[in-house]
Amino acid sequence: MSDQKKMAIIATKGTLDWAYPPFILASTAAALGYEVQIFWTFYGLQCLKKDLNLQVTSLGNPGMPMPMPMPVVVQALPGMQSMMTMMMKQKMKSKGVASVEDLRELCIEADVKMVACQMTVDLFDMNPSDFIDGVEFGGAATFFEFAGEADITLYI
């Protein structure tokens, strides 16, 4: 269908918080009738792993709301990252925010096309069998093939 609207996303981040924007926008766009393709590159590829182990950290992110003021050196202590990740997941659950896994599943159900950056896969010696089924592999030209006809293109 040539009159269908299209959205192309480049997703570059591999943290729990930054996994949300591409999945939220892609699933919603699909629900609105868009054809959606996400090109996952660099750390974004973590979001395609079958076993997601996405973490969140306040380090280097002074904008993160903290339950209590905490010096940066304390934030850097061992175990802090997993604690923050756990707290973030709990908070999201209590606020009715979907898990990344659920949003990803909704995207796949809605036929959002996932393209993994072949160069990154090679660069980090990633194993394609660690990724969810249905992922395609390609490069910049593959992205432009779709993005060139897209109504919306986002870099996240």
């Binding site: 699933s27 919603t28 629900a31 609105l32 009738g33 009715g96 925010v97």
Partner: protein
């Protein structure tokens, strides 16, 4: 509130789940049938307006009932 054919309780769910669930529920309806949606996400008020406008499904009613937001959407 007018009659409806199916009800979707999206209470407690946050963006974008009410929209995604509504889209799925509409998929099971026939054209002309009405879906009633209950939500607690304040953002859903504007979102369902936008959803209706973009998908062509008609937002027949949008209101508040007992502290919750209630929408009626007729499938196009």
């Amino acid at each position: 509130m007018a009659n409806f054919d199916q009800e979707l309780d999206a209470s407690g769910l946050n963006c974008p789940l009410p929209i995604l669930r509504a889209k799925k529920a509409l998929g099971t309806l026939e054209a002309g049938q009405v879906l009633r949606i209950i939500a607690t996400d304040p953002g859903s008020v504007k979102d369902f307006e936008a959803f209706a406008k973009q998908t062509g499904n008609e937002l027949m009613e949008s209101g508040e009932e007992g502290g919750k937001f209630v929408f009626l959407i007729k499938k196009a």
